[in-house]
C-alpha cells in the first residue's frame, strides 16, 4: 500500500514539476512576444495617424452597447465617458437590464429621455421582454432600451444589437470609463483594413483608487487594498503582455467584454452572443473565428495595446471569488462547446495553441496546482522529498512568477508610464511578491470551484458585482479617488 502511495506521489510530483516548467516556458515566450510588440509600438508613438482617422470619411460609424444592471453608482460617469468620445460618428445604446435601483431614473433625468417607437435593425432572439425604447432629447446620440432581466449579460447585449444602427459595435461594461480617444484607437485597425479585421480589443485597467471627474480619469492611482493591487498587476500582465503576445501569434481568444469592438454584420451572422455562456466575450471571439475559418474567409482579430478602458475590479474576497468562479465556469463551457477545435490544425493557431493552453493551464491549472501541493505535503510527511528540495522548488516557482510580473511592470513603465507616482510603482512591485503568498492560492480555489460547476453542468448564474462607483458622495466634492 505504501509503495502504491509512494509511486502515486512520485508521479504527481513530477507531473507538477512538468506542468510548472511547461507553463512558465509558454508564458515566458508569450511575454517575450508581447514585450517585443509593445517595444516596437513604442517607436511609432505620435505617428499612428489618429487625427487622420478622426477626420477621415472612411472611418465607420460605431454603436457603443452598454448593458447595465443595477449600475446606479457609476452609470452616469460611464455614459459621460462614452458620449464624450472623440470619434466622428457614433451612437450609444444603453440597455437597462431589469435594474432594481435608480439606474434608469438617473439616466432619464440627465438625458431627458423620451419614449420612442422601437426601431429594430436585426432580429436576434432575446429572452427578456423589451419594455420600452427611449431616446435622449439633450442632443446626445443615446438610445436606452428597458427590458426585463433574465440574469444574463448576453441577453442584454443581444437586445442592444437588435437596435444598433452602425456597422461596428463596441461592447462596454456599465462600470467602465473609456479614455477620450479609446474608440478612435481601437477602431483604427477597422479603418485601415476594413476587409479583414472583424474584432479588435484594447487594454483594460483597474480604476479603483484613481482620481476621476465626471467620467474622466484624471490620474491613475493604486488602491490601498492589496486585493485590488494584485488585480492591477494581473491586468497589466494579461493585457500588456499576454494578449499582445497571443495577438502576435494570431491566436487571440479573448477580447474583454468590458471593451471590445466588432463588425456588426459578422456578429449577427453567428447569431449574436451565446445566451447561455458565462464567458460570452471569449465565446463570441471563438465562435466568430470558428465560423470564418470553416467558411475559409480571411479575417483578423486585433489587439491594440495603447487603448485604455478603466473598470472597477472587485474589492472584497467574496465578490472576487464569485467573479473568478464565473470566469472559470464560462471557460469550461467554452472549451466544451468548441472541443472539436482543440488541437485541430484546421483552426490554425487558435486550435493548436490558444485552446490547448487555456485547457491545460487556465482550466486545469488549479487542479494540478492543488493536487501537486497535496503531493508535495505528502512527500514531506513520508520523507520522500527533503524539505530543502521542496523549499528550493517553491522559491523557484515564486521567483519565476515574480519575474513575469516585474517584466509587466517594466513594460508599463518604459512604454506607457501611466502611474506617475513612485509609490504606486513600489506598491505594484510589492504586489508582485504578495500575490504568491495568498492571492494565487485563493484564486486557484475559486477557479477550481468554477471548474467543478462546469463539469457538473450547473445552471449558469450571472451575478452582478456590487459597484462602488467612480465618484464620491457628495457629488459636489469631485476630483476624489474611487473608494477606498
Amino acid at each position: 500500500m505504501r509503495e502504491l502511495l509512494v509511486d502515486a506521489v512520485f508521479v504527481a510530483n513530477w507531473a507538477l514539476l512538468a506542468h510548472v516548467a511547461l507553463f512558465h516556458l509558454v508564458t515566458v515566450l508569450l511575454v517575450l512576444a508581447g514585450a517585443r510588440r509593445v517595444w516596437r509600438n513604442r517607436h511609432w508613438r505620435g505617428v499612428e495617424g489618429h487625427d487622420e482617422t478622426f477626420a477621415s470619411p472612411l472611418t465607420p460609424a460605431v454603436s457603443i452597447l452598454v448593458p447595465a444592471h443595477d449600475e446606479e453608482a457609476g452609470i452616469l460617469d460611464t455614459l459621460s465617458a462614452v458620449l464624450g468620445q472623440k470619434y466622428p460618428a457614433f451612437e450609444a445604446v444603453l440597455v437597462d437590464d431589469g435594474s432594481t435601483d435608480r439606474t434608469f431614473d438617473l439616466v432619464a433625468e440627465r438625458y431627458a429621455l423620451r419614449e420612442v417607437t422601437p426601431r429594430p435593425t436585426a432580429d436576434l432572439p432575446v429572452d427578456g421582454e423589451v419594455l420600452s425604447v427611449h431616446r435622449a432629447t439633450t442632443g446626445d446620440p443615446l438610445t436606452v432600451i428597458r427590458k426585463t432581466s433574465v440574469g444574463r449579460r448576453s441577453d442584454a447585449l443581444n437586445a442592444a444589437l437588435n437596435h444598433a444602427r452602425h456597422p461596428l459595435v463596441c461592447m462596454v461594461d456599465g462600470d467602465s470609463l473609456l479614455e477620450t480617444e479609446a474608440l478612435l484607437q481601437v477602431s483604427r485597425p477597422f479603418v485601415e483594413d476594413p476587409d479583414n479585421v472583424v474584432a479588435s480589443g484594447g487594454v483594460i485597467r483597474a480604476a479603483n483608487g484613481s482620481l476621476t471627474d465626471r467620467g474622466t480619469l484624471l490620474e491613475p492611482r493604486l488602491s490601498r487594498r492589496w486585493v485590488v493591487r494584485v488585480q492591477v498587476l494581473e491586468y497589466l500582465r494579461s493585457f500588456l503582455l499576454g494578449r499582445t503576445g497571443w495577438a502576435d501569434a494570431h491566436a487571440l481568444l479573448i477580447i474583454s467584454g468590458a471593451f471590445g469592438l466588432f463588425r456588426r454584420d459578422v456578429v449577427l451572422e453567428v447569431g449574436g452572443l451565446d445566451p447561455l455562456s458565462l464567458a460570452e466575450d471569449a465565446e463570441l471571439v471563438v465562435t466568430i473565428q470558428e465560423h470564418l475559418r470553416r467558411n475559409r474567409r480571411p479575417h483578423r482579430v486585433v489587439f491594440v495595446p495603447q487603448t485604455v478602458c478603466w473598470t472597477e475590479v472587485p474589492e472584497s474576497w467574496q465578490v472576487l471569488g464569485r467573479q473568478r468562479k464565473r470566469w472559470s465556469h464560462g471557460l469550461g463551457q467554452l472549451l466544451w462547446k468548441h472541443r472539436r477545435m482543440i488541437g485541430n490544425p484546421r483552426f490554425g493557431p487558435i486550435g493548436m495553441l490558444a485552446l490547448p493552453f487555456f485547457l491545460l493551464f487556465e482550466l486545469l491549472g488549479p487542479v494540478v496546482e492543488l493536487v501537486g501541493l497535496a503531493a508535495v505535503a505528502t512527500s514531506l510527511v513520508l520523507g520522500l522529498v527533503q524539505p530543502a528540495v521542496a523549499g528550493a522548488v517553491l522559491v523557484l516557482a515564486v521567483a519565476l512568477g515574480v519575474l513575469l510580473s516585474a517584466t509587466a511592470i517594466a513594460v508599463e513603465e518604459v512604454s506607457y508610464h501611466r502611474y506617475g507616482r513612485g509609490r504606486d510603482l513600489l506598491s505594484l512591485m510589492g504586489a508582485a511578491v504578495v500575490e504568491h503568498l495568498w492571492f494565487r492560492w485563493a484564486h486557484s480555489w475559486y477557479r477550481l470551484r468554477g471548474l467543478v460547476a462546469a463539469l457538473t453542468r450547473r445552471t449558469p448564474v450571472w451575478t452582478a458585482m456590487p459597484r462602488v462607483g467612480f465618484a464620491a458622495d457628495p457629488p459636489s466634492d469631485r476630483l476624489v479617488p474611487v473608494r477606498p
Binding site: 472612411l58 476587409d195 528550493a392 511592470i409
Partner: protein, 352 residues
C-alpha cells in the same frame, strides 16, 4: 527529486537577481523620465515663442539652426496645422537643421520604425521630391512601413503616385484598402481622373475603393461609370455596393432607375440596403414605388432601410409611410419607427 537542489538553487538565484535588476531599472527609468520630461517641457516653453517669432518674420531660419533637438518636435507638431507660407517657413527650418536629409537617409535604415518615421516626416513636409523613394517603400517587407509610406504619399500630394497606390492593393506585399483610401483622399480632386479609370479597368478591390472615393468626392462625371458598375451583374458584390453608395452620395437622379431596380430585385440584402439608402439620399419622388416594394422584403434590414429612405423624401415619401403605418403586414412596424425617428420630439406620432 533529490538531484534537483543544485540547479534549482542556481536558477532561483539567477531569476531573483534578474527580478531585482529589473525592478531597480524600473525605478531608475521612472526617475530619469520624470527629469527628462521636466527638462523638455521647460525647453519647449522656451522654444515655442521662438518659432512664433520666426513665423512673424522677426527671426531667421538660420538663427534656429543650433537650437536643441526638441525644437524639431515643436516644429513637427505645428507643421500639419499650418498652410501656405507658414508651412514653407517651418519646412525650411527642418531643411536647414538637416532633419529632412536625415529622414531621406533613414528611408533605407535597417529598423522598420526608422524607415516608417522617416517616411511620415517626409510626407508631413509636403515635399514631392522623395515620392519615388516613398513609392518604393510601398513594397517594403514591413506592413507598418508600407502603411507609413502610403500615408506619406497622400500627405506629400503627388498625384503621379495614384496608380502605384491602387496597384499596392493587390501586389504580393499588399496594403489594406483603408490605408490606400485615406492616402487617395488626401491627394484630393487631382486624383479623380485616375480613380475614374481605375473604376473601369482596375482590380475588384481597386474598383470598389475607387467607387467609394468618387462618391465621397461627389464626382458627377463618374455617374455613368458608377451606374454601369451597379447594373453589371457580373461585377463583384463589393463593387456594386460601393457603386450604389457612391451614386447616393453624388445625388445623381439619373441613376434612380438602376438603383430602384437593384433595391427591388437585387439578391444580396446588403446591396439592396445600399441601393435603398442611396435612393433616400437622392430624394427623387419617382423612386417611391421601388422603396415601397422594398418594404415588403423578407429581410428586416432591407425593410428598415427602405422605410428610412422614404422618410427622407419629403413630403411624398412620408405621406406614403403614413399610409403604410396604418396597414397590416411587416411594413407597418418599420414605417411607424421611421416616422418616429424623424420626429424625435413627438414620439409615437403615428397611432396605429
Amino acid at each position: 527529486m533529490t538531484l534537483l537542489p543544485g540547479p534549482v538553487v542556481l536558477t532561483s538565484t539567477a531569476v531573483t537577481g534578474l527580478v531585482v535588476l529589473l525592478l531597480l531599472s524600473v525605478g531608475g527609468v521612472h526617475v530619469a523620465r520624470r527629469r527628462r520630461e521636466r527638462r523638455n517641457a521647460a525647453r519647449r516653453a522656451e522654444l515655442t515663442p521662438l518659432v512664433y517669432t520666426l513665423l512673424d518674420g522677426t527671426e531667421t531660419v538660420q538663427s534656429l539652426a543650433d537650437a536643441p533637438a526638441v525644437l524639431d518636435d515643436v516644429v513637427l507638431h505645428l507643421l500639419p496645422q499650418l498652410r501656405g507660407n507658414d508651412r514653407q517657413v517651418l519646412r525650411d527650418v527642418l531643411v536647414a537643421r538637416g532633419v529632412v536629409d536625415r529622414a531621406a537617409a533613414d528611408l533605407s535604415a535597417r529598423a522598420p520604425w526608422r524607415r516608417g518615421r522617416a517616411a511620415m516626416l517626409l510626407g508631413a513636409t509636403g515635399s514631392t521630391r522623395h515620392t519615388h523613394d516613398l513609392v518604393t517603400l510601398l513594397e517594403d517587407r514591413s506592413p507598418d512601413v508600407r502603411s507609413a509610406a502610403a500615408r506619406a504619399i497622400g500627405k506629400a500630394g503627388d498625384v503621379g503616385a495614384v496608380p502605384h497606390l491602387l496597384a499596392s492593393l493587390t501586389s504580393a506585399r499588399h496594403l489594406p484598402s483603408g490605408i490606400v483610401g485615406m492616402a487617395l483622399l488626401d491627394l484630393g480632386t487631382p486624383a479623380l481622373p485616375a480613380l475614374r479609370t481605375a473604376l473601369e479597368t482596375g482590380s475588384a478591390r481597386a474598383r470598389a475603393l475607387s467607387a467609394g472615393l468618387l462618391g465621397l468626392h461627389g464626382d458627377v462625371p463618374a455617374t455613368p461609370a458608377l451606374t454601369a458598375a451597379l447594373e453589371d451583374d457580373a461585377s463583384p458584390a463589393e463593387v456594386r455596393r460601393a457603386a450604389a453608395a457612391a451614386l447616393g452620395r453624388i445625388g445623381a437622379p439619373q441613376a434612380g432607375t438602376a438603383l430602384s431596380r437593384v433595391a427591388v430585385l437585387g439578391g444580396d440584402p446588403a446591396l439592396r440596403q445600399a441601393a435603398a439608402e442611396a435612393l433616400g439620399r437622392i430624394g427623387d419622388p419617382d423612386c417611391i414605388p421601388a422603396l415601397v416594394a422594398g418594404m415588403a422584403a423578407a429581410d428586416l434590414r432591407v425593410r428598415t432601410t427602405c422605410a428610412d429612405a422614404l422618410a427622407a423624401i419629403t413630403p411624398e415619401g412620408r405621406d406614403r409611410l403614413r399610409t403604410l403605418a396604418t396597414s397590416d403586414g411587416p411594413a407597418a412596424g418599420a414605417a411607424v419607427a421611421a416616422l418616429d425617428a424623424v420626429s424625435p420630439f413627438r414620439p409615437l406620432a403615428v397611432a396605429r
